[in-house]
């Protein structure tokens, strides 16, 4: 349980309480609108006082997010939101701190801060809006753009290999890794709630459509006629099924995951893997499906384990120091070591 989750509100909040008076300025049709709406709808249900939420962002389209939330907010500088959020959380662990970032902000210029936040495991929630493009600077390829992508800065195609965000998070020892999609309102709300309740850093990648510079980047998982074949909705303890009438699933062929067709008469549901979100190998397998067209796109919680948070350990050390040495005595430390008197 987050430290101050016990602090419940007396008066029920509504979506309106979390809506600021600022006009939202994303392009019409931008996926960010939906994400903002899901957050504003979810927050009243978290049962937490409004003044305890802090939104921190860097630079980019997504990073305008804090201005639209009627909570405490800090729109910082490019890539640095995880570090600013770390400072806020260690100074006051009772706050619920949210980082809003994008693929450029979080994975390119701010990549170092992101991995170190994950490694330290502060109880901070990261919403990474992945649109696989630089939007605010008008359309350059990003660290999640596909190889060969033609953009203004890569007229002959990008020659960078993309990052795989969940694998990166796993490599950085994240304790909560999940993925959702801007247009899947209910799913996104559920995952936001789960991220909030996770005691530790939550890494939530949200596929977000940039209608202007990279439209339909995630059409497979968002379009009505294709998504059923492409969304693998993860549920802890449940078989990894997908496709129309859940007719397909993920099984193993020796050491390799494969898609099993349950309608061909040769396979049974017993061969389908059960999702175990506490298992790192499962998480790795799921995250490695990311750029593999032969597999569906996993959505939901890939991985979740609970260990100590950084801020808990910091404050425990302080408590222990006080127990051992007594509360700080300024005169004593000034006079520490060898002193002498001059008359």
């Amino acid at each position: 349980m987050p430290r101050s989750e016990e602090a419940t509100v007396t008066q029920a909040l509504t979506r309106k309480d979390f809506t600021s008076d600022q006009t939202v300025r994303w392009c019409p049709g931008c996926g960010d609108y939906s994400i903002l709406a899901q957050v504003q709808k979810t927050f009243p249900e978290l049962g937490r006082k409004k003044e305890e939420f802090v939104f921190v962002s860097g630079i980019g389209c997504s990073s305008r997010f804090p201005y639209y939330m009627n909570t405490y907010g800090f729109h910082t500088i490019h890539g640095r939101a995880p570090a600013v959020a770390t400072g806020i959380k260690i100074a006051n662990p009772d706050l619920s701190v949210w980082v809003v970032t994008g693929d450029g902000d979080g994975l390119s210029i701010g990549g170092n801060h992101l991995i170190h936040l994950l490694r330290r495991n502060l109880d901070i929630n990261i919403l990474l809006f992945n649109n696989r493009i630089y939007g605010l600077t008008k359309g350059q390829y990003s660290p999640t753009s596909e190889f060969g992508k033609v953009t203004k800065s890569t007229p002959l195609g990008s020659i960078d290999w993309p990052f795989n965000p969940p694998s990166l998070a796993l490599g950085a020892a994240a304790t909560f890794i999940a993925r959702s999609v801007d247009v899947e309102g209910q799913h996104l709300q559920d995952i936001i709630k789960a991220a909030y309740h996770h005691h530790g850093t939550s890494f939530l990648e949200i596929y977000q459509n940039c209608i202007i510079f990279n439209d339909n980047a995630f059409a497979d998982v968002t379009e009505k006629d294709t998504k059923v074949e492409h969304q693998l909705l993860l549920e802890h303890g449940q078989p990894m099924l997908f496709g129309k009438d859940k007719s397909k699933g993920i099984g193993m062929d020796g050491h390799h995951p494969v898609v099993i067709d349950l309608t061909d008469g040769k396979h049974s549901i017993d061969e389908i893997l059960l999702h175990d979100k506490t298992d790192r190998m499962t998480a790795l397998m799921l995250s490695e499906m990311t750029y593999r067209p032969e597999f569906p796109v996993p959505l939901g919680i890939f991985y979740e384990i609970e260990i100590n948070t950084y801020e808990d350990l910091i404050h425990e050390q302080i408590e222990r120091a006080v127990e051992k040495m007594g509360p700080g005595d300024m005169e004593a430390i000034l006079h520490a070591g060898h002193t002498w008197k001059v008359k």
Partner: protein, 594 residues
């Protein structure tokens, strides 16, 4: 070597001498033994009078190998005493140090008093029945040398005995070895009377009170903790390891029982931005580094200026551009502190003058940052950070109060960017967690009252002026400039930072000869003290010695249209008082001839 030096310093303070020290060591942690690059030294001046510097030219040089002699000989005063461990002057070491013949045996050191002793053998003999490895025995040679010096200067050894006992508590054989070597050195001096006289240095006439020796970096750490204590705010110190500032991080980390939080960040940028986050959350936020780290932090400093958050940045300057000479001293980051950011991004700039002043100015930096809701840059340098001097300990009640603009409620609508106190130009500091005061801040230009994003032309110009004014009003809350010596005269020597001791000694000497020369040392650089212009015009000439190519000197020229005389040294070493003295005489002569 650094340990031997610090022990001698400790003891010298205890016997009541005033002192100043200059440790000097290579950047390489384990440079090849015996090589010139590997020489580590420790210089101390002490005496009965008020000591301002570690001394221009030592009277006594103790060398433990030929390389140390090669490197330090040029510094020794003519006719000075050399005490050498002759056991190390073998062919290989001589070659490594670049001596063709053994200087202890040829006549080349004729002008000095040479005392050549086989310290290795003597120390080994004293330890012979302990059954120690030759490596451990070799290490105790430094203790032998220290014992010899204790005899030479008539100092008690108890404090070093105690130190040895605590430091090697778990290894009784090492305690015994070091104590014996120390005693052996002392006894050797006494029985052989190798040097004709042993010196007794009388106590200095220092103001009465309780003293301890303090290094600049440690004094900064204590100043920060004291500011946290006095202000009632939680101190959050974020840093990234960098020479010569890391010691501040180490030392602050020892005061966790004060509720202090230290955070070793993943890089310099994370150190400053996490501090900014802590400031937003209501803490006394500090980050410390050296020049290259400051360069990395500059964009974030702009954010703190724009968001009007209190933040203390400490730059323990080191020498050279890029990586430069990390363990050597320089004061060439003044322009960086003033101007090293995009756009009009003024910050308050302070500089500590002496190791003890590091405490006062660290506290002062916190006071100004919190009171005015501005970032404050405090400049120290490698020489101050590692140098030490006796400190007349202050009482907590002597420190000025630190007020802040935190609020818990407002009448009517909350305006996050409204200036609520025209005297300090602080905005309200509304801390996350406070009901009804939810607001958003950031690096985009903000409306001067609501804090909402604004691209309005008039508002932007108003905000640029306001950020400048926030720095300017600090001048109403700092002491006026006061000269040492007369308020007017032929020459004012104007300094800042660690040149204080060398300038003061030089000015004292020329004043002693009846010249109308005064010293003004700036500790508040941005803004300057309000009366600075008035003080400067009362002197015929203004000389500005700096360990850079003339940064303050140029600022004074452009600000006050005074034709300052620049006097610069960039060798990675502090000024000698004699260098400044010679320059003063040169300027006095020119002025008279003119």
């Amino acid at each position: 070597m650094q340990l031997t030096g610090s022990q001698f310093t400790e003891t010298t303070g205890i016997v009541g001498n005033d002192l100043a020290t200059l440790p000097d060591y290579p950047a390489e942690i384990r440079a090849p033994a015996g090589s010139l690059a590997g020489v580590s030294s420790y210089q101390i001046q002490f005496g009965r009078e008020d000591i301002q510097t570690p001394g221009d030219q030592p009277d006594v040089l103790v060398v433990m190998n030929p390389a140390a002699l090669k490197v330090n000989l040029p510094e020794l005063r003519p006719n000075g005493i050399i005490i050498a461990n002759k056991a190390t002057f073998n062919k290989r070491n001589l070659q490594l140090a670049g001596w063709d013949t053994n200087p202890l045996e040829d006549e080349s050191l004729g002008e000095y008093t040479l005392v050549s002793i086989d310290m290795t053998m003597l120390a080994e003999k004293a330890l012979e029945d302990l059954g120690l490895s030759s490596k451990v025995m070799a290490r105790s040679t430094n203790m032998f040398a220290l014992g010899l010096l204790y005899w030479l200067y008539d100092r008690p050894m108890d404090s070093t005995f105690n130190f040895i006992e605590t430091k090697f508590k778990s290894r009784p054989e090492i305690v015994e070895a070091n104590k014996r070597a120390l005693q052996a050195g002392y006894n050797y001096g006494r029985t052989t009377r190798l040097i004709s006289t042993s010196y007794t240095v009388a106590k200095a006439t220092l103001p009465s009170g309780t003293y301890r020796n303090i290094m600049g970096n440690h004094a900064i750490a204590l100043g920060l903790v004291a500011a946290g204590h006095k202000s009632g705010l939680r101190l959050v110190y974020a840093g990234y390891p960098i020479t010569p500032a890391s010691d501040i991080l180490h030392m602050v980390s020892n005061y966790k029982n004060f509720g202090v939080i230290t955070f070793q960040a993943e890089d310099e940028i994370a150190a400053v931005t996490s501090a900014i986050g802590a400031a937003f959350a209501g803490a006394l936020a500090v980050t410390g580094t050296s020049g290259p780290g400051m360069a990395l932090k500059s964009e974030a400093i702009g954010l703190a200026v724009s968001a009007e958050l209190p933040l203390v940045l400490i730059n323990v300057q080191r020498a050279g551009p890029s990586t430069g000479m990390p363990t050597k001293t320089e004061q060439a980051d003044l322009f960086q502190a003033f101007y090293g950011r995009n756009s009009e991004t003024p910050t308050v700039v302070l500089a500590a003058a002496t190791p003890v002043d590091c405490f006062t100015m660290a506290y002062e930096a916190c006071r100004i940052a919190i009171q005015h809701m501005v970032p404050v840059i405090l400049l120290s340098d490698s020489y101050l950070g590692n140098g030490s001097e006796p400190w007349l300990l202050p009482g907590m009640e002597d420190l000025p109060p630190i007020t802040n603009s935190q609020i818990t409620s407002v009448n009517g609508e909350f305006q996050p960017f409204e200036i609520t106190d025209p005297a300090t130009m602080a905005r309200s500091w509304a801390i996350p967690g406070t009901p009804e005061l939810e607001h958003r801040i950031g690096g985009l230009e903000k409306d001067a009252v609501t804090g909402n994003v604004s691209y309005d032309a008039e508002n932007h110009e108003r905000m640029v002026h306001r950020r400048q004014k926030k720095v300017d009003v600090v001048a109403d809350h700092i002491p006026l400039a006061a000269t040492f010596g007369d308020e007017k005269g032929d020459l004012l020597v104007l300094g800042w930072g660690s040149t204080h001791g060398a300038i003061r000694s030089a000015v004292e000497r020329v004043r002693g000869e009846g010249h109308a020369v005064s010293h003004l040392h700036l500790r508040h650089l941005n803004p300057f003290p309000k009366n600075l212009g008035d003080v400067l015009v009362r002197f015929r000439r203004v000389l500005v010695p700096e360990l850079n190519l003339g940064q303050l000197g140029r600022m004074i020229r452009s600000e006050f249209l005074i034709d300052t005389i620049l006097f610069n040294k960039v060798k990675g070493k502090p000024f000698l008082a004699s260098e400044i003295e010679a320059k003063i005489f040169e300027v006095l002569k020119e002025t008279k001839d003119a």
